[in-house]
């Protein structure tokens, strides 16, 4: 098991190295990094100071070294707008985005898996057909428009839930979170549901396809032949088997959820890093965009790593194969 984890860690490091190269190349190919990373309003002295600090006057391989070094030190340049380190700005807003993303994942799983399993077990029932039609809709509905409609119905017309913002937050382990106050939860419901909708459709499809396939397997019939209750057959024998693809895909999709939070955050004025990204793009605050990119890449790689490890825990066959190899 530990061999497996170490190998995956090494792979992740290689990918991070590669990605840093790509981002670096991207900055240099697309434009002059001096333009990209230094505010157009800076005066000549300031420009020269920054060029020296970021090592932009050196040959490219040295520049890359500086880039890596600075990235390791957490210096990804200062925001033109806020005059603060870009990294700090993003890290400040990250908890809000992560909270939203995890809430969305939770909703997707909690509703998606049971609905999908039901549709898989009784594929011909009207309820199942309704569920599947709903999931097609969930796939096709543009996230931002659903967000608008949610605001219109639940905030404007019914007045049940607040339309924008994050509401009261409490500090948990040094991080501001919403889900511990009632006001915070109220603010969280709509955006989280909005963000969850697409993934929920995906989970429903995965769970249904998995259930349909697993339900036909001999081992399910054998489990029933053992006289197990249908509850145990479904909740243990079927569920544990469909968890493998669902967890894998969901894990990989977490990155997508964080990226898509950009849209939801904009609609609901949720103060996360996605909203920061959009604002920065519109205000041409490039250091923040670069920093966002690097952090997201890093998060993606981390997520992939965790998913791989989780996968091996869930599926004993993978674990064994990898240790042997």
């Amino acid at each position: 098991m530990s061999v497996f984890i170490i190998r995956r860690l090494l792979q992740a490091l290689v990918v991070i190295f590669l990605m840093s190269l790509i981002v670096f190349a991207g900055i240099n190919i697309v434009g002059d990094p001096v333009d990209l990373l230094i505010s157009p309003e800076a005066d000549q002295a300031e420009i020269e100071a920054t060029i020296r600090r970021l090592g932009l006057d050196r040959p490219w391989h040295e520049q890359y070294g500086y880039f890596l070094l600075n990235a390791f030190k957490g210096d990804l340049g200062n925001s033109f707008i806020f005059a603060e380190p870009a990294l700090k700005l993003i890290l400040q807003r990250m908890p809000a985005t992560l909270e939203l993303a995890f809430a969305a994942m939770l909703i997707a799983v909690v509703f998606g898996i049971p609905l999908g399993m039901y549709a898989g077990l009784k594929p011909d029932s009207t309820t199942s057909k309704t569920i599947m039609a709903g999931s097609i809709l969930g796939f096709s509905l543009p996230t931002f428009w659903v967000g608008l409609m949610l605001i219109m119905v639940f905030a404007v017309m019914l007045g049940w839930l607040p339309s924008t913002g994050r509401g009261d937050t409490t500090e948990l382990l040094g991080i501001q979170v919403s889900f511990l106050t009632w006001d915070g939860i109220q603010h969280l419901i709509l955006p989280a549901f909005n963000l969850a909708l697409f993934k929920m459709s995906l989970v429903i499809r995965l769970a249904r396809a998995g259930t349909k396939e697993v339900a036909l397997q001999d081992y399910i019939k054998f489990a029933r032949a053992k006289g197990l209750s249908s509850r145990r057959v479904v909740l243990v024998h079927v569920a544990k088997n469909i968890m493998i693809p669902v967890v894998t895909v969901l894990g990989l999709e977490l990155g997508g959820v964080i990226a898509f939070a950009v849209v939801t955050e904009t609609v609901f004025a949720w103060p996360g890093m996605g909203k920061l990204l959009i604002d920065s793009i519109q205000l041409l605050d490039r250091p923040v965009v670069v920093a966002y990119l690097l952090i997201t890449v890093f998060m993606f790689i981390l997520i992939n790593l965790v998913v791989d490890i989780l996968y091996s825990i869930l599926d004993p066959r993978v674990r064994l194969k990898d240790v042997k190899a």
């Binding site: 991207g26 697309v30 434009g31 097609i136 809709l137 796939f139 096709s140 509905l141 543009p142 996230t143 931002f144 428009w145 608008l148 409609m149 605001i151 219109m152 404007v156 017309m157 339309s163 990989l252 990155g255 997508g256 990226a259 898509f260 950009v262 849209v263 904009t266 990204l277 959009i278 920065s280 793009i281 519109q282 490039r286 965009v289 990119l293 997201t296 993606f300 992939n304």
Partner: protein, 309 residues
């Protein structure tokens, strides 16, 4: 099994002239599903509207001589103050007829989606065929790039590109193409790898045909069915993505308002209860995407290519 036999028997009986060609077979299979038939009809209607928007719209919503601020924010069904036009779906903040705006928006959304889809398909096809045909290191390098790109969400890549390139129709199309080409490349490579091992390619190689001829005249036509499916589904995806970008204010400019931009423009009015400015363009967008997806799903079932989604 027996359905196929019956089917064959029936078509053999009906007339000798009507031969069961693969195309006929495909058409009859496709329209077996009522949902897909409905979607196909709907899609034709949408394409018709997009093509002939200037002819069938009640007004030209971007002709400043026609649009009158006096008609701003009228509810669906209200008449213009001069009484010569009924706003079936209401009017927006500038007094434009929403129905006309939606027709024009549909035209823009569809053309951006289809155009980016075609360009991405061509690029993806060439790259994917190269990977499959030459194999070895070419294949490894290309597929690594494809995998790496596909591991990032489309929206993120598009946002970053827009951030670097700036706004504009051409930039949006570039972003959409960049997001999509990898799907095509992967699909075409997958089917080309299967086809490549078949004997007709070997035969063509033995005839000492040029690489180009083998790839484009022999390999490519056999890889087309999955491409059609991916193309349909990707176009829906591209339309949705373009709408999202426009909504975020990073897509098409105000002078060429796609459905996404119409929805974004209505956002501010929504909080005061004027739902129609955002609602109807959204419905148009939704119907477009759902129909394309339904047609694509049915195409996939009928053509049954080896596709993973």
């Amino acid at each position: 099994m027996s359905a196929t036999t019956d089917h064959l028997a029936a078509s053999a009986l009906s007339s000798q002239a009507r031969v069961e060609t693969p195309f006929r077979r495909f058409v009859s299979d496709f329209f077996e599903s009522k949902v897909a038939t409905g979607a196909c009809v709907m899609l034709s209607v949408i394409i018709f509207i997009a093509l002939f928007a200037p002819l069938i719209s009640p007004q030209n919503p971007y002709d400043l001589a026609v649009v009158d601020v006096m008609n701003a924010r009228l509810e669906p069904g209200e008449q213009s103050w001069s009484g010569d036009l009924t706003f079936v779906l209401g009017s927006d903040g500038a007094g434009r007829d929403m129905l006309s705006a939606i027709f024009y928006g549909l035209r823009i959304s569809l053309s951006v989606g289809v155009m980016s889809g075609i360009i991405a398909m061509i690029i993806g096809m060439v790259v994917g065929l190269m990977a499959a045909y030459f194999g070895g290191r070419t294949d490894t390098v290309i597929m690594r790039i494809v995998d790496l790109q596909l591991s990032f969400p489309a929206i993120l890549i598009a946002l970053v590109l827009i951030a670097i390139l700036g706004k504009g129709v051409d930039k949006v199309i570039i972003a959409l193409v960049t997001v999509q080409w990898a799907y095509y490349a992967r699909t075409v490579r997958g089917s080309a790898l299967v086809e490549r091992r078949k004997e007709y390619i070997e035969a063509a190689t033995c005839l000492a045909l040029s690489h180009r001829r083998i790839v484009f005249r022999h390999l490519l036509p056999n890889c087309l069915p999955p491409m059609i499916v991916v193309g349909t589904l990707q176009t829906a995806h591209a339309i949705s993505l373009e709408a999202t970008l426009s909504f975020l204010g990073l897509g098409l400019p105000q002078t060429e308002p796609s459905l996404g931009l119409l929805i974004a423009n209505g956002f501010e009015y929504m909080l005061s209860g004027k739902y129609w400015i955002s609602f109807f363009p959204g419905i148009a967008l939704l119907v477009t995407i759902v129909t394309i997806n339904l047609v694509g799903d049915q195409l996939r079932d009928v053509l049954n290519p080896r596709l993973e989604r």
